[in-house]
Amino acid sequence: MGDSRGGCCPPMDLFRSEPMQLVQLIIPMESARLTVAYLGDLGLLQFKDLNSEKSPFQRTYAGQIKKCGEMARTLRFFKEQMLKAGLSPSATSVAQTDIDVDDLEVKLGELEAELIEMNANGEKLQRSYNELVEYKIVLKKAGDFFPSAQQSATAQRREMESNQMGEESIETPLLQEQETSTDLSKQVKLGFITGLVPRGKSMVFERILFRATRGNLFLKQVPIEAPVTDPVSGEKMEKNVFTVFYSGERAKNKILKICDAFGANRYPFSEDRGKQAVMISEVSGKISDLKSTIDAGKLHQDHLLRTIGDQFEQWNLKVKKEKLIHHTLNMLSLDVTKKCLVAEAWSPVFAKKQIQEALQRASVDSNSQVGAILQVLHTRELPPTYFRTNKFTAAFQEIVDAYGVAKYQEANPGVYTIVTFPFLFAVMFGDWGHGICLLLATLILIVREKKLSSQKLGDITEMTFGGRYVILMMSLFSIYAGFVYNECFSVALDLFGPSAYACRDLSCRDAYSIGLIKVRNTYPFGVDPAWHGSRTELPFLNSLKMKMSILLGVAQMNLGIILSYCNATFFGNCLNIWFQFIPQMIFLNSLFGYLSLLIILKWFTGSQADLYHIMIYMFLSPTDELGDNQLFQGQKTVQHVLLLLALVSVPWMLLPKPFLLKRQHENRQRGQSCTPVQVTDDTLHSEANHSHGHGHGHEEFEFGEVFVHQLIHTIEFVLGAVSNTASYLRLWALSLAHSQLSIVFYEKVLLLAWGYDNIVILVVGIIIFIFATVGVLLIMETLSAFLHALRLHWVEFQNKFYEGDGYKFYSFSFALIHDEGD
């Protein structure tokens, strides 16, 4: 099954990762950029960083990267401006003229300068426009309240004067009294300042003014209804028009300073009504003039931005590519002669020809006299793992990679996951009604695949979309499992013909369990509908599902151990075959393989034997008579042999391997490079802890450590055989939970509502049923069954063979730029 090297069957690409090689490229300086660009289009190389000790700005192409960063910044600036102007860059670039990077830089610089100048001019105009608008508002508002304020001020003064003429009142403020008495003529001429202050600050403004002038002022504020644009910041804000009356030069200075500090814009204002009217008309005229100028400017700017927008995407892509190219060039090391660059990169073996073609094309296109040279290097380093997946297999490979990336060329559980994962899921989620709902949901995703993959989705939708083919398989399998369990929203239907059982007489209508006799042939597919609702339904289904879980588990674990055999033969590791694979097989199958055999036998013979009893007393008292529990002739002897085999296989697993490893090590130290165990010629595939050994003298061999390691492995396997088998019982448990839950929703909600014969209750019942089915059964149960299937794969299946300590192949490819987006 795992023999991918055999010539008879087509190669199974996904079973082993692509064979990789480390290639060295020697690229002449003049064609370096173009070469890397072509390789980026190809996307089949993973460059190694040969300058990792250098900091980013000490590298050869740091200048170009800076340039690209600068261009990217300019582009971001354009984008921001376009967003401000309400334009969006057109998705399809108009002209695909190939523009040189240097030209692009110049062009971008020019455009930026033009745009900035335009903005500055526009801003200046805008500012004076905003000022005028504010001024106009001030004129209007102040014009309204000025007369009244003036009146009240004079009234106050008159009152004061009268107070003075009369007797000195105690309430008269001391200061005012001083001022009035000292300088009556000056006092008549009250100074005032008008302007606008942001509404949020107006309270503090008033308070500070009050304190600064010691209450010796008159302030009037009127809120403006609509928010105005502040000339300085250019933001819309709510403002108040204020007018302050004060007396004295010192107070004026203070007030002016305070106004500045609060960002209150002051505007000149005249007391004279006639003048006010003139000013208003003057300001309105100026405003309309400015407005037309600004509009013309805006139009021009929009035009410019639109031309930028047409080519924006193209430029953006170009700059991103350029940056990536130079980042890659920075990873190459400079030859001593400084005439060529040396690159080291991992590439799949099959890509060699394509790479050579790309190199040739690059050297022709760049008119270089010397072509780039490609040569394969031999190395001990472990190559990256690269699976050529398609959109269907990618999601399943992701499930495996989430646990750990496969070691280079190790057997990939992803192949089996494609079928076993949805299958185990379906065992837990067996209901073909729910399966169809799931299928419809995922079909929507698949049909709209093209549209959805181009747009950005939310977190959860993104995940669901990524796993759409996994869900498709899961739903198909759960429809199948639903037919086997004969459940559709927990209802049993007789789709494959009538039930095999019928009542003996009329008396058994309400007592389901008794009185049924077999009248026809066995129900052709799945569980007979007659079981549904009978009193023995649960015990029957439990026993069925439990045994099925054990069978599935033992089968999958055996597959796992067989895969470890595939790995051992592939890497030429005889030790692992003889002292790991064989005893493990024996141990697992002598206990649980035997149990599976008994299960099948029991099904075929219809025997009443108690399998628990057999298994337990096989260990506790092997010599006892079996009695009723005997299923076949010579069962006792077979059990003795199996027990013995299981006991023998434990030390078999534990002891020989460390000692043999030790001997191997000693042999090697004596200079024998060829040990009998290392059968393959390719030393690359030798065991991980040997990988450094051959080239550089001796390696450390700690016998104690190796032995303890083996001990742990053995204990883990022996205990794991029991606990993992038990763990597969979750298949039964979840399946039970699922069917019971759906029965509850069906019977206690839908049927109950039906029974009332009331349309309102019925509608409410149906709504609750739908929500419960979607929320609990379709979403939550899917998640939990998914998680349990995941666990069964990661832990119970993969721990039998999977190392998962490799690293992924990240190719240098321009295709990734598109995905990355913003």
């Binding site: 990267i65 800076k66 910044r73 500070i208």
Partner: protein, 351 residues
Amino acid sequence: MYGFEAMTFNIHGGYLEAIVRGHRAGLLTAADYNNLCQCETLDDIKMHLSATEYGPYLQNEPSPLHTTTIVEKCTLKLVDEYKHMLCQATEPLSTFLEYITYGHMIDNVVLIVTGTLHERDVQELLEKCHPLGMFDSIATLAVAQNMRELYRLFLVDTPLAPYFSECITSEDLDDMNIEIMRNTLYKAYLEDFYKFCQKLGGATAEIMSDLLAFEADRRAVNITINSIGTELTRDDRRKLYSNFGLLYPYGHEELAVCEDIDQVRGAMEKYPPYQSIFSKLSYGESQMLDKAFYEEEVKRLCLAFEQQFHYGVFFAYMRLREQEIRNLMWISECVAQNQKSRVHDSVVFIF
């Protein structure tokens, strides 16, 4: 509730503690500083910083960079983080966070007042103010003529008002009494903060009292050194020292009578934690003292992160970031002025 913070701390403080620890993980490391010190131009610095948490703040700056832009953007990041934390905080953490900014507030007040005294433009001064220490009426400070006015008009609304009780005089402002005002305010502030932390109790009190005591002692030493040779009397000097800390009260008596730097040294070496600081300096030298103190402070601030369930981490984080910005400013200045040999003079590595 000493010892029981672990039970209840996470109800209100857990989220923010996680946030602040996450921010702390973004502080530049020694490797980063090594790379930064090798930079040739400010663009190199920008390029290097773009790979750190400062990246988003610097990426949209057009190319001829200035030191001020770098510092401004880095400070902006700190301010954004602070504001986010303040928004999320509940009592008493929000008060604690506010306390952290009062120091900047005092510095800003002093900056504006001194600036106006020398007839600088207010707008220009405002740009120099630390954004964490801004308050509504800060620009109007320029109007004030003496301290009484300063207090009555403007500061009475700010949280600094209570600290003013000791320095309300009707004297006109001059350089000397502004400096005295700064130190008096700082003294009152530190004492208040200290009291607040004691009130919070638990690990916060324990850790913050240590950090604040260090701060108070450092200020005491600085006041002493700066006032040597000025007309400040011993008693006046004594009054500026905060009434807590390791040096209080006997160390203060000794510092108050010091006449030169070696006497200060003699007084300080009696205290083991400060002995190590002074032992790094040669006799008669005070230039490197600042750096030595900063290094010691950074060490103590880093230690605050070793314990969980207390507010000290917020204080420590803010201080460490400020130190980092100071480092970046120094490095950028050295790079901009081609003084790369002096780069290591003032940079304090945090990790």
